[in-house]
């Protein structure tokens, strides 16, 4: 494989996404809400808007979460006042799966733009007339989707950690974030989810010819992550290190299967046949 060609494809695709506000603006707005707005509301809200911190944890769903919580996790809440408890429960446990929306969203948006966008604008034709091999084209486009997805996820996680510890320090009295479960979530599950977004974009691109149509289809990938959030909020599932490792493993196995299909679809002749 010629890495000069792969680098050129990645650079070109990222430059194109950067120039397309419709593609990157939603990718930045959502992390800003998850990473900045929601934590600030939970940490500063009770003081700024003068509402009792109990209001944050009095929701029946949260009570369910609290009641069914495994003892090891419950131990982390011992000795905390209601505001501190709200911060740890909401920002430490419940928002963990929410951050996973970022890699799937970014990978599928960039992947869709990269694979289907080229078809829609017919720029794929001159690309296929170059001597670049199918593998080089695939790896280039794959990295173009994965790198910003993981970059933005990890950047968001760092910003989240900073806000929770620095802004939250006066309430919590110490640096407390992240708990151990976040490590497999960010380093094992998030890459698997980003990879899924990318392979889904390739698969969808084989059947669709417009960006919007493909984007609507790949957008459905967010649903499993949302189910995870709901499952956790209602106390049906609790993410611990083992749970995160198992979820990651399942996702990587699904990814391997999807990759196999994607590689079969990504052939010059197949792509050209639909131009």
């Amino acid at each position: 494989m010629n890495w000069r060609i792969i680098r050129a494809i990645v650079r070109k695709d990222l430059l194109e996404v950067r120039q397309n506000g419709m593609a990157w603006k939603p990718m930045v707005i959502l992390p800003l809400i998850f990473v900045v707005v929601l934590p600030l509301i939970v940490i500063l809200g009770p003081k700024l808007f003068n509402f009792p911190a109990d209001a944050l944890t009095s929701d029946p769903d949260l009570q369910g979460f609290l009641n069914n919580m495994p003892p090891a996790m419950k131990a982390q809440l011992d000795g905390l006042d209601s505001h501190q408890m709200a911060i740890v429960m909401l920002l430490g446990f419940m928002f963990a799966p929410m951050l996973l929306i970022i890699p799937v969203m970014v990978a599928s948006v960039v992947g869709t733009e990269s694979f289907v966008g080229e078809k829609e604008r017919r720029t794929i034709e001159p690309l296929l007339y170059t001597p670049a091999t199918e593998r080089e084209l695939f790896v280039g486009k794959m990295l173009a989707a994965l790198l910003p997805a993981l970059g933005l996820t990890w950047l968001s996680f760092l910003a989240y950690t900073f806000i929770l510890n620095v802004v939250g320090a006066p309430v919590m009295g110490r640096f407390w974030f992240p708990s151990l479960v976040w490590l497999p979530m960010m380093l094992w599950v998030a890459p698997a989810i980003a990879f899924m977004g990318m392979t889904a974009a390739v698969l969808v691109s084989a059947r669709t010819n417009t960006f919007m149509e493909a984007y609507q289809t790949t957008g459905m990938l967010v649903l499993p992550v949302i189910l995870l959030v709901i499952g956790q909020a209602t106390g049906v599932i609790y993410l611990n290190v083992t749970g995160a490792l198992v979820i990651g493993l399942v996702l990587w196995l699904v990814d391997a299967e999807l990759l196999w299909f994607a590689l079969r679809i990504f052939s010059r002749a197949r792509l050209m046949a639909r131009v």
């Binding site: 070109k12 604008r121 017919r122 720029t123 034709e125 296929l128 170059t130 050209m272």
Partner: protein, 312 residues
């Protein structure tokens, strides 16, 4: 002889449609070869087959000695294809477009900026080099696409409808650039078009295609000879030579038919070699010649005659 492009019974089927049907042709190095046909005739499919982008259902091809089906990468390293639409990255600048494709075609990193600058200069885009391609006029976009096909200095160029959708001025600019590429640079050009004037101006030989099948291949004269029996010669005289003149013409060896009378008439002879004998016969019979003009069939006449014959 090693041909630049060669196809032997090349065919490609899509479902029940035979897009390219037993096409055989050979293009010499440095030749400008035109492939003429209506939309959907199979021209683009043939270009894709010759560049190894799609595989043939049957038959073989060679481009610069490489088999496109098995050595597609080698073929594409040596060919440049101008697609029917410019298909530029419109959000990128002209320079970024050329740099990207130069990298994919393997132009050495140290040489690429100089080559990009030269092409931008040659195609009159140097002043807009750092503007986004999306803001260019159609003619400028087509010139940038032409520059893209030359970034790796290919030996064989494929042009697919290069002037489609351009205004007359932009079309003339593009045609002149293509002419320079073949006449000055000596590259082999495979031109797909349904613009017959453009083909007449640029091509050394043409092939006419319809429904995937080649109807004829040759120079315009060769094709005309195959379609029309004999050669018509228009004659204009200074003074009326009298009633016996026309019957006399019919007795000249090589003359097949005479139409018209008086000062202007047309004579059909068997071949171009019979024209001097015809002129001598007219002079001997007392005809005062003002003008003798052998009729040449335009590519347009040839094309429509071939298409008509194919339909019938």
């Amino acid at each position: 002889m090693t041909y630049a492009i060669q196809a032997n019974n090349l065919a490609r089927q899509f479902g029940s449609v035979r897009a390219v049907n037993d096409v055989s042709l050979a293009v010499e190095p440095g030749e400008v070869f035109g492939l003429l046909g209506p939309n959907g005739a199979g021209k683009t499919t043939l270009v894709r087959l010759l560049n190894g982008v799609i595989e043939p259902s049957s038959g073989t091809a060679r481009v610069l000695g490489f088999d496109p089906a098995a050595q597609g990468g080698d073929v594409r390293r040596n060919t440049g294809v101008l697609t029917e639409t410019p298909a530029l990255y419109e959000r990128l600048t002209a320079r970024a477009n050329l740099t990207f494709f130069g990298t994919l075609y393997g132009v050495p990193e140290a040489e690429l900026p100089r080559r990009v600058a030269e092409l931008l200069e040659r195609f009159g885009l140097a002043e807009r080099a750092d503007d986004r391609a999306g803001g260019f006029s159609k003619g400028m976009k087509q010139r940038l696409a032409l520059a893209r096909t030359l970034i790796h200095q290919p030996k064989v160029l494929f042009f697919d409808e290069p002037t489609a959708g351009l205004d007359p001025e932009a079309a003339l600019q593009v045609t002149t650039l293509i002419e320079d590429l073949s006449r000055q640079d000596g590259r082999t050009v495979f031109l797909c078009t349904h613009n017959l004037e453009e083909a007449q101006r640029l091509c050394d030989r043409v092939a006419v295609i319809n429904q995937g099948r080649l109807l004829a291949v040759g120079t315009a004269q060769q094709l005309a000879r195959g379609l029309w029996h004999g050669l018509w010669v228009d004659v204009t005289l200074y003074a009326d030579p009298g009633a016996a003149f026309i019957p006399h013409l019919r007795t000249i060896p090589g003359v097949l038919d005479v139409t018209g009378d008086g000062l202007t008439f047309a004579v059909q002879v068997q071949a171009q070699a019979d024209v001097p004998q015809l002129v001598a016969g007219i002079v001997t019979a007392g005809g005062l010649i003002v003008r003798v003009s052998p009729r040449e069939h335009s590519l347009q006449e040839i094309y429509f005659r071939l298409q008509q014959e194919a339909r019938s």
